[in-house]
Amino acid sequence: MHNAEVRAQENTLLVVDQVGKQFGGLSALNNVSLSVRAGEIYGLIGPNGAGKTTLFNCMTGLYTVSSGAIHLNDVAVHNHKPHEVVARGFARTFQNIRLFANMTVLENVMVGRHIRSQAGVLGAVLRNALTRAEEKNIRERALYLLSRVGLDGKAQHLAGHLSYGLQRRLEIARALATDPSILALDEPVAGMNPSERRDMGELFLRLREEFRLTILLIEHDVKLVMCVCDKLAVLDYGCKISEGTPQVVQRDPAVIAAYLGGGK
């Protein structure tokens, strides 16, 4: 499955170029550069407070970058509004699940189709054939996505009533509804037990194949990361200290030092 030669020939999808982010005097990211190829599952690991989520927020438009640039398909996406980044095919989930808790599971995913649909006030009020067809498509697509992440039969449940693991899956379905080319998952298996983690790992691989996704993954679970990621980058104190295949990163002395505190 990991056909390295084929993937190497494909184009680089996401380029993070010397990105820095300062909060007042605090430097949360320091000249971080990455490049992610299309079809890769790219892991982003590092100790707590290393700047992983900050980097996600910079990529998805929730933060402006202080320096550097981020390109998706050779188009700059840094310092754009979140919805513009989504429109270019970059979807994400959140570390602390952010669902629309009082809407149904189906509605949550339907909201994800917003950016890929058009109906305005006039369409909504007149409910003409065009709008009705669009609504039907939105609904069908949402139901399909729910079935792909293992939420069949839960469409009419309230999102907030789902169990923790299913909420994680719903967040992924909502992100998929925006037709992303790259999906950024922020600690998607945190708080799950080993068998749930394994299921999620399989889900990521399956989704990559079906939706031709590139996946960015922030995760602490070493086993999962080693299993599913094609490539890893390690952040520590806002700097990238290592990058490479899981096997290479695992043996990198700088990484071992950062995790075990040996070098400092």
Binding site: L62, V86, R92, F94, M110, H114, A124, R127
Partner: protein
């Protein structure tokens, strides 16, 4: 209740008949002043539905909503009164007036986009007062609004030569103007209800709900939060502007006093009391809060009859009861008198959830 729920067609028909004969019933039983009150009930329903788009759907607390009512009313008065000598027909003024109010919805929305909760409430409150104070003072250097004296002799609604004034006779039935206004307002209210329902269940409505639930997540899910929030303000303002225009034509006289902060708060209370985000609840709230204060006027007469004198002034009593009602509601029905199923769930844990929580508790003990 079951009878009506099982036979939706019949109950709808009965409701339609009731609404159709209501003004005649009311004037026969209670007098014409109550028909006038009915007209106001409809206007307030219109306003409450409009504000509900902003507060209930999009979750943006707007304390200056009455400003759009004022703008709609003054717009109507400018184009259909001797003040500027203009007498345009209503079917030109009302659409333009709603657009005029919507434009101000944008103007209010734009600077408040970054604000949430309390801060947004304060700014919108300020906006409401600014509009009122403008209307109060724009009689010099150019007399636009006639200041605190207000504008009068505003044209009634008229279709061609048929004006909504005096009493008309159809088939030997005397129909006073207030009855005609009732039917006109009813038509607009039904239209507003339809529009509100359709908006709620649409791509736009879902986007509003998403913003209400979690603005950051909404943005990260691809919703242009700026435009969608501006749209909520503008749509709400549209309803307010329409109601304002109708009010001006109905009343024939408007002055800045009619558009004070208290009115904004009353409309907000209708929504909160009835059930935020739920159209039937909002209508119920508007009906109750318009009719009850009038009904309470009779308390004065009752006191005189029973006690010989008026001990508690009805208008004081009104505020007292109003306060108690709100406190009781917050305690016992925090989601409003007639909340949507969704809101109810937000505020009460259902058995299913309670059981679920109990289950995980056992897990922890194991």
């Amino acid at each position: 209740m079951l009878f009506f729920r099982e036979r939706p067609r019949i109950s709808l028909l009965l409701l339609a008949i009731l609404l159709a004969v209501l003004p005649f019933l009311t004037s026969g039983l209670l007098g014409n002043s109550w028909v006038r009150l009915l007209d106001f009930v409809l206007l307030y329903i219109l306003l409450a539905i409009g504000l509900n788009l902003v507060v209930g759907y999009a979750g943006l607390l707007d304390l200056g909503y009455i400003a759009f009512y004022a703008l709609g009313a003054y717009f109507y008065a400018w184009l259909a009164s001797p003040h500027f000598g203009l007498h345009l027909p209503f079917w030109i003024i009302l659409p333009l007036g709603t657009l005029f109010a919507a434009a101000f919805g944008f103007i209010l929305g734009a600077p408040t986009l970054r604000l949430r909760g309390d801060y947004l409430a304060i700014v919108t409150l300020g906006f409401g007062e600014i509009i009122r104070i403008f209307m109060n003072n724009l009689n010099a250097p150019v007399n636009l609004t006639n200041g605190p004296q207000g504008m009068d002799l505003i044209d009634p609604i008229s279709f061609g030569g048929f004006a909504f004034s005096g009493t008309h006779t159809f088939l030997d039935i005397k129909v006073p103007a207030i009855h005609l206004y009732y039917y006109l307002f009813l038509a607009f209210t039904l239209l507003a209800i339809l529009v509100a329902y359709r908006l709620q269940d649409s791509r736009i409505g879902r986007a509003w709900a998403a913003i209400r639930e979690d603005e950051v997540a909404a943005a990260a899910t691809g919703i242009n939060t700026r435009n969608i929030k501006l749209l909520a303000f503008a749509m709400g303002a549209t309803f307010g502007g329409l109601a304002g225009g109708l009010f001006a034509s109905f009343q024939g006289f408007i002055s800045p006093e009619s558009f004070n902060l208290f009115e904004s708060i009353m409309i907000l209370c209708m929504i909160v009391l009835g059930g935020m985000g739920h159209i039937p609840g909002v209508i119920l709230g508007a009906v109750l809060l318009t009719i009850l204060p009038e009904a309470l006027r009779y308390i004065g007469d009752l006191q005189r009859a029973w006690l010989g004198e008026v001990i508690v002034d009805p208008s004081d009593l009104r505020m007292l009861l109003f306060g108690i009602a709100l406190v009781l509601m917050m305690l016992f029905r925090p989601a409003g008198l007639w909340p949507s199923r969704q809101r109810k769930r937000e505020l009460t844990a259902e058995g299913e959830i309670a059981a679920h929580e109990q289950e995980s508790l056992h897990d922890a003990q194991r």
